[in-house]
Symmetry: C5
Subunit: 265 residues, 5 copies
């Protein structure tokens, strides 16, 4: 971790990444609830909200839409990804080189690894190259660290989440994005295990407002840096409202309850 590489992703040490790589990872059915989100512009518009510290997209979306938003949005280049049509042992091929991400104006890079997969070794090796290349370009690195594959029965056990965040530290990520272990205590272990690497919670599939904000509150209480969120923002009819609430929970350290009642008033 380089102290200097943090600014592109964070504000006051806190992080709110808006992610929209679901078109690749899940396919267009993910956008059916709110059909206009099929258009990346809709989501880029949401990313101009002050609360959002960076937006994560795949190469083609960045090439096509980022030029109109480069003054208002920090680009987190999501370098790898795969479709869910494919059913092999968890693995995520690299679709975007760091060099080309830098050329397009990326402010940071993101990379998925699946510790526990049969293909963990390749992913570690590919992460190595991406991470070291990012260092050459002074780009901070976010690791999507999800234990998955083979013998892993429960990938949200506390010790598995803590292991995932620790792997972020060990392999040289500046930010580790992990699943929510289900409790503040679990998150505390994950945060401590990551040392000076920041930990953010992965937003996951859409849940109701209070449940969602409460988990974010627990992350902040546990010392986490924030959130990387997709569907829980843009699958809502009014993404701005939830972003307002997230801003209060993450950056102003309000409770979920207070934040919700403020945005409802």
């Amino acid at each position: 971790m380089y102290p200097l590489t943090d600014e592109a992703l964070a504000r006051d040490g806190k992080v709110l990444i808006l992610a929209m790589d679901h078109g690749l990872e899940h396919g267009p059915t993910d956008f059916e609830a709110v059909p206009e989100t099929l258009d990346p512009e809709t989501v880029f518009e949401a990313a101009t909200h002050d609360a959002v510290t960076a937006m994560a997209v795949q190469k083609g979306v960045a090439e096509t839409y980022y030029p109109s938003y480069e003054d208002d949005v920090n680009l987190l280049a999501k370098l790898n990804g795969t479709s869910n049509l494919w059913m092999g042992e968890p693995y995520s091929p690299q679709n975007w080189s760091v060099e080309y991400a830098a050329e397009i104006g990326a402010d940071a890079v993101g990379y998925t690894v699946y510790p526990g997969s049969n293909r963990e070794p390749e992913m570690f090796e590919e992460f190595r190259d991406a991470q070291e290349s990012a260092r050459d370009h002074d780009l901070p690195v976010v690791m999507w660290s999800y234990a998955r594959g083979q013998g892993l029965k429960n990938d949200t056990k506390d010790e598995v989440i803590a292991y995932a965040s620790r792997i972020g530290l060990e392999l040289g990520a500046d930010v580790a994005k992990v699943k929510y272990p289900g409790s503040k205590e679990g998150m505390e272990w994950a945060v401590d295990a990551a040392g000076d690497t920041k930990v953010v919670m992965s937003g996951g599939s859409k849940v109701d407002d209070y449940q969602f904000l409460e988990s974010v509150e627990a992350v902040i209480d546990a010392g986490g840096a924030g959130l990387a969120v997709g569907r829980n923002v843009w699958q809502r009819e009014n993404p701005e409202r939830i972003l307002d609430a997230l801003e209060k929970v993450i950056f102003e350290e309000q409770s979920a309850e207070d934040a919700l009642s403020e945005v409802e008033s």
Copy 2:
């Protein structure tokens, strides 16, 4: 997608690619119906029709025949391909480097990916290199995006076609070539899912004039950019006549019926 890279493949934003990589993909039996098409010159002659915005061939055919047509035909270098003698999980090896395609005078490059195949990850990685190298040479990129392999039962379901076109956008194609989902509605989803990436229908095996033009009409109505066609042109006794009709449907936005009656008159 780069706005600038579009001109080589399109006219007024519309696309009609004449493809003749069937000698590699299907073998010479594909040319038996109209034996003179075994000779690439016959098909290059057809490609001089005003309606055709680019012709797609493999490296050896380009090396040998393109020099005589470079003033009249735009070359779409089809970079990968395989024979149908081979029966492994869907995959398409790269037979032509972007560098050498550029050297020969290609105006654009084409690349097949099979989302859903066991070998999807490799194809994504190889597409990455081809796409980024094409950017270096200012060549637009057409992705042949066909969901195929493993557990895919019906690769023309609407959501699978929309996923295929979306992958074109996500991975950085300028044009996505997908199978016709069977209806205008299905095509609309595919077109919307691709955002600013243009979508063209894959011509498929030969059908009768009206049925063929009707599907092209639906593509245009759905907002698609046009067609990439092979057998439905050069397996016809009179390719010029069907190209005349396609010109009317694609570029003049006539109905299939009107176009047919005009060329019949």
Copy 3:
């Protein structure tokens, strides 16, 4: 295909390649019938015959023996090959780089591909690099194109041979070497399918003089460019006599019968 690259392999557009890679492909038992052919010099001597337009050998044989024959023999560097001790799915590793072949003075390069093998994709990719590197060195390329592997029951069916020669054209070979399909008609299809790529018959295992020359005559009648032959020359007690006859059939377009009676007189 580049018009310029043809001269090294052909005379008046006809081709007679004398091949001696059997020490690698078949092992030394192939030389037992005429023991002195175990010594590469014996075969290089035969290659000085006027009828022979190039001699095909592996790297080590070229390094060791070609320096004494470089004024009298055109070197066709056979870049890949494997032993028959190995029993995997058909594949042929590259034993010689194009760069080093050029350095040694090769006039052309040769490469085996097995369309239909499980490993077809790798072979196509490796052929790509060899072919493009050969273009950089202005060396013509001969493809040994043999459909083989997996589900291929009869690799000398007309359509399979025509497919094999077409693959030569599609992938950028200047000459395609294919098995004899058993008839002039079969060979015509193969020649037509290859377009401007020249087609030569693969000599195969030793047969009697008339039967052998008759198949060569059929190749020439079918528009083929000639022959790549090994055992049918150097497994004969008097290779010069059969080369005399081949010269008449290939370059003077005599019938097998006439050619035989002339060399017998």
Copy 4:
């Protein structure tokens, strides 16, 4: 082995490596006994003890914490490693390039190989590149050499340990880290087999003070260079005390008993 490359790791020819790559190799549960060791600073503090000749960590830990300790601690860059979530045949992917380790200020590099694994060949090849690159940067090389995988029933048999240390010599390691074979005689064979390559014992899981120091005494008596230790230091409540004792056994060649009674007094 280069005589010059030894100083970074050794004092008076003796070696005491403090290793903390357990966060990657074993996960955060390894730190539960002494929770503050989850924080790498705690272990770096321990590494400032005079007895420690180098500290071994993964890339991310070095990037983040080493800058504060570079004056007081020699950095042994542990280049490869894997998680224990993964259950394939023993293999250890490279997570850190030698070039980047050198850039960060590494004084030496470490690399795990598992002779006997199905993936032994790849590991040997990857070790080759790491070792030769380390030579280019004048960095000594420590091989973690653990026979493991497939048919290996008992990987601490004397001949297996001696084989492991010999592989260190044969492949070009300056120091071979091997498991303790259980006796001084076993260790003598391992030391002799390694020739001029230094041999250090791998600390293993935590045992009681006397048992641990006694095995270190046996290593020194057998001519070994010392120890690479992790849990047996930082899983103790008072790491300084055991480091005091290790200093006496390794550098002053005291008996385990004397060393213990001195530190207890």
Copy 5:
């Protein structure tokens, strides 16, 4: 084969390679009969005997011990090798680059290939790179050519040994090291099959003096260039005596009987 590259390995066209890669290939148990041979110096001392034209060792042994012997011993850098703990299909990973071997002062390089193994193709490809790189550094190449793997029942049949030596010629080795086929006639075939590539017998496991020298005599009578020997020299109590005898058989072309009685007198 380049005539110039022969001098480093041969004297008067004869070759006696002393090999000591057994520490890697067989493990330290190979040295138990004569324990001091565990120390590479003992074997390097033996290699200073006038009869020895080169000594073959792995990288680490060369780095550590060769500097003291570079004036008296020619270094044959054995580039690949594997442990016998590993039980996969025969394969030998490359542990030493040609570039680094040259830097250390190697006079020649050696490489094992296993024709007939499932992994024959990779080994041929890797041999290609090593051989061509050796040409760039003007280093002669010795191929350890052992048919092995899969369906090979008897790898010392005459035709298999002759095939192995022929592969040395075909792929560009200057010297082929093959197993003794059991008779002078078998060896003659191997020598003839290799053309101008020199053939040396592989020493194999230790046998009695007369039996050993008799096989060497047969090799020389068959036109072979000599011997590559390990255990049959350094597993003897008095290696100098057997080297004296070998010098007589190989360089003075004495019979085994005469040589033995001379050294006994």
